[in-house]
């Protein structure tokens, strides 16, 4: 049964060292099991798309990579998540430091009630960077990578809340990039955005994957098809299938995957 | 490293958060420490039910004060509750929204005026008026009731407005759709739905009235006897404490603390009742 739909562990290890290894990850909230034992590898400097209908625990999976689930009370996480070989859930591991290496962009654009400049430097300042010149450079670099620099370079002092929805989301992306994370997690970043803003974000991601490892949760299968290198299909808290994006959309191995991507349910 | 300092912050904050409980405990300890031995010595029954308050000769019955406090408080409720609740109903249900924005703060100004000012106005205006119209010394249960009523009016009104606001709009619409007039809708549906909140507000007002000291001292007359009518002078529990604390010693002093214990417990019970009513409402919502 040499189906391609799951690479064997040996194949994974031989191709390249995965950036992230997830082993039997289970997450429950107050006794209800949301994520039911997911195992997968995420290759470095690639975009992994995560698709699936609502309630599949895609966001739970994403947030597990950043230890953001534990902010909700009653959350229990079992299993391992190794980033560069180190288990981020080990007792000795510091979630605060983890969150500086892993960046997250949320579904609703959520600028802090600060100026555009202050939004971007919020994270770096916490890490101790205070040299004004370095911060200025960082701001320009991050906003450029998010395709926002040209639009706001003359008004960095205005409040981030005054931007349009699409601009706000790009600001959130820039804010994340300013931390120079190794792993960027995006949770349905373009839901609620107009097509032009969406395409700007997708364009940014395609360029960013040359330097960053990216995981993109999306409700929009076509977005995954456009942008992701690999795609994982989640259903009801389980990983059903993980493969190259092309394969998932043209020749999925599992019937449920096929039903979802062809729109038979969703 | 960071984790350690965050844990330290958390522990410090916990310690600080426990200060309220600490304060409460310290207050309770000291008041009870001074007053309880007295109650054991004299006997609770004698203390509460004897009408003989003559500390100089060792008689410590506070029954007249208890009755005075109750009378004055109930009187205050008779004045403050109808006004407060009526005002709340009018502002919430019948008045234009602009009226709420201006009238509510205006009436809440009442809550900020110091009790001694209320007492003063009671002495200068109310008491002579009562004396002229109804007789008696003027400084009386009646005067204290009216003053207290005005003082608790904003509290009752405020909580009643909240209670009425929390009644779902669908209740009103349902009644109106069945052909009720606005007043009928309010009377039969809204008031019933908000009744627990209105009750809670009234109980809280009662708690405030029982605990009021300065205004009552100024207008109630402070005679140490059982009041026979509303026009009689009376001395409440709070007034008793405040007036005699300055020169009381020994057993006398302890008696005043014991009075404090009685007040403390009564108010705790009242506040507890009001609190549990309000919490039950919050749960049901």
């Amino acid at each position: 049964m040499s189906l391609d739909h799951q690479r064997s562990p040996d194949e994974l290890r031989s191709s390249h060292n995965p950036k992230v290894e997830v082993r039997d990850l289970k997450v429950s909230f107050g006794g209800d099991l949301a994520l039911r034992g997911v195992s997968l590898d995420i290759a470095a400097k690639r975009i992994l798309g995560v698709i699936g209908p609502a309630g599949s625990a895609k966001t739970t999976f994403l947030r597990a990579l950043d230890r953001m689930n534990e902010l909700k009370s009653g959350c229990r996480t079992e299993g391992k998540v190794l980033i560069d070989g180190e288990d981020i859930y080990a007792p000795s591991s510091d979630p605060v430091l983890l969150r500086r290496r892993v960046g997250m962009v949320f579904a609703m654009p959520m600028p802090l009630p600060l100026s555009i400049y202050e939004n971007v430097v919020y994270g770096p300042r916490l890490s101790g960077l205070c040299d004004k010149a370095a911060l200025d450079e960082l701001v320009e670099e991050s906003l450029s990578s998010a395709f926002l620099w040209e639009e706001v370079k003359d008004r960095l002092g205005t409040s981030g809340l005054k931007l349009s929805g699409g601009q706000q989301q790009r600001l959130c992306l820039a804010r994340t990039l300013a931390m120079k994370p190794e792993l960027i997690l995006l949770d349905e970043p373009s839901s609620g955005l107009d097509p032009i803003s969406t395409s700007k974000i997708e364009e940014a991601l395609t360029i960013l994957k040359e330097r960053y490892t990216i995981v993109l949760v999306t409700n929009n299968t076509k977005q995954a098809a456009r942008v992701a290198d690999e795609t994982a299909f989640f259903l009801m808290g389980e990983l059903i299938e993980l493969n190259a994006t092309g394969k998932i959309f043209t020749n999925p191995a599992d019937k449920r995957t096929e039903d979802y991507v062809t729109g038979r349910f969703g | 490293m960071k984790r350690a300092s965050d844990k330290l912050v958390e522990r410090l904050l916990l310690a600080i958060a426990l200060t309220t409980i600490l304060c409460l405990l310290v207050i309770a300890v000291f008041i009870f420490k001074e007053g309880l031995p007295f109650i054991f010595k004299i006997g609770l029954g004698d203390f509460l039910f004897s009408s003989d308050w003559r500390p100089d000769s060792g008689h410590y019955g506070i029954f007249p004060m208890i009755i005075s406090s109750l009378w004055v408080t109930l009187g205050g409720l008779l004045v403050g509750a109808p006004l407060g609740i009526a005002g709340a109903i009018f502002l919430s249900e019948f008045g234009p929204p602009a009226m709420m924005r201006f009238v509510k703060p205006a009436i809440e100004l009442l809550a900020g005026i110091p009790s001694v000012v209320f007492g003063f106005i009671g002495v200068m205006v109310l008491a002579p008026f009562i004396r002229a119209v109804a007789g008696g010394p003027g400084l009386s249960v009646l005067a204290a009731s009216i003053v207290l009523g005005v003082m608790i009016l904003p509290t009752i009104m405020s909580i009643s407005i909240d209670a009425l606001a929390s009644v779902p709009q669908s209740y009103r619409e349902g009644a109106l759709a069945l052909g009720a007039t606005k007043w009928q809708a309010v009377r039969m549906v809204v008031l019933k739905a908000g009744s627990s909140g209105l009750l809670a507000g009234t109980i809280l007002g009662m708690g405030r009235a029982i605990g009021e000291t300065m205004a009552v001292i100024m207008v109630a007359g402070n005679a140490v006897k059982m009041p026979a009518s509303s026009l009689d002078s009376a001395r409440t529990l709070t007034a008793n404490i405040a007036l005699e604390m300055g020169y009381a010693t020994g057993m006398h002093r302890q008696a005043l603390f014991a009075t404090g214990i009685v007040l403390f417990i009564v108010i705790m019970i009242l506040n507890g009742m009001a609190g549990s009513i309000l919490k039950k409402k919050a749960h049901l919502r």
Binding site: R99, M108 | T19, T20, I21, F94, G95, P105, F120
Partner: protein, 278 residues
């Protein structure tokens, strides 16, 4: 006109009359005090000390005493109150501990001022030997305003949108850093409102103050000096029948102070609501 319409007319009329009556009472009180008291307000009255037991002269030491006492009380309880509110909303979830703390706060809020006076007298003045002093009064007042500060601070903190906290944490901030940089700065208007509310309340406090801060005429020179607040001064003037005019004057100052604090508070709250609505 149908019977229903008539009974509605009568009912609403009665309700409106009651509301009007309440308003009239407020107006009467303000008018009465200010009409008789404002004429008393002269430079001498406001800025010189009392002479002849308060029959003549002014109320300056009382004004200073009131301000210092209230500010000191708030200075003591504000950090405690805000940090307690921070703990309750940011560091724990609802459970036995928070219920106990809230119970303590509610109880403290319900204790009548005379009992605080008793307590302050027994504990601060006598047992701790602080005597009738600013510090005894301030510590007692601090306990009295603490519940209000906790409640208003908690409301203000909870009104800060939850996503902002998540964002801060996801950028690698600790909980305390998030509190310091995101939560507290945005809760500030609500906290300030609570401070003003407490300040207004503490100005009028009498029973607790008389038994802890005493009633000395003199300007306080140290925290251990006894001090007379406006409310205490007013009470003594009125009750001992020393001077009706000066009493009216003092009352006018008290009422004006409360009026201005209330007005400021409302102005602040409106700005706060308008800003948040953006």
């Amino acid at each position: 006109m149908s019977a229903h319409a008539t009974s509605q007319r009568i009912a609403v009329g009665a309700l409106a009359a009651a509301t009007l009556l309440s308003l009239a009472i407020v107006a009467f009180i303000l008018f009465f005090v200010l009409e008789k008291g404002l004429p008393q307000l002269s430079w001498e009255f406001l800025f010189s000390g009392p002479k002849d037991m308060g029959k003549a002269g002014g109320i300056f030491p009382a004004i200073i005493g009131t301000l210092v006492l209230s500010l000191l009380a708030i200075g003591i309880s504000l950090p405690l109150g805000v940090l307690t509110a921070v703990y309750l909303s940011e560091y724990t979830k609802e459970g036995r501990l928070t219920k106990a703390i809230r119970f303590g706060t509610d109880c403290l809020a319900g204790i009548p001022s005379i009992i605080f006076g008793l307590f302050g007298y027994v504990f601060f003045v006598t047992t701790l030997r602080m005597g009738w002093s600013l510090i005894s009064g301030a510590l007692t007042l601090a306990m009295m305003v603490l519940p209000t500060l906790i409640r208003t601070s908690e409301e203000a903190i909870r009104s800060v949108p939850q996503p902002w906290r998540e964002v801060s944490l996801s950028l690698g901030a600790t909980r305390w850093e998030t509190v310091r940089k995101v939560v507290l700065p945005n809760a500030l208007p609500g906290i300030v409102t609570g401070v003003m509310l407490s300040f207004g309340r503490s100005i009028g406090e009498t029973a607790a103050v008389i038994y802890t801060a005493g009633s000395s005429f003199r300007m306080p020179r140290s925290a251990f000096d006894s001090v007379r607040t406006l409310a205490v001064h007013f009470y003594l003037l009125a009750r001992e029948g020393i001077s009706t005019e000066k009493a009216y004057g003092t009352a006018a100052v008290l009422v004006l102070a409360v009026l201005s604090v209330n007005l400021l508070t409302y102005a602040l709250m409106n700005r706060f609501i308008r800003r948040r609505a953006r």
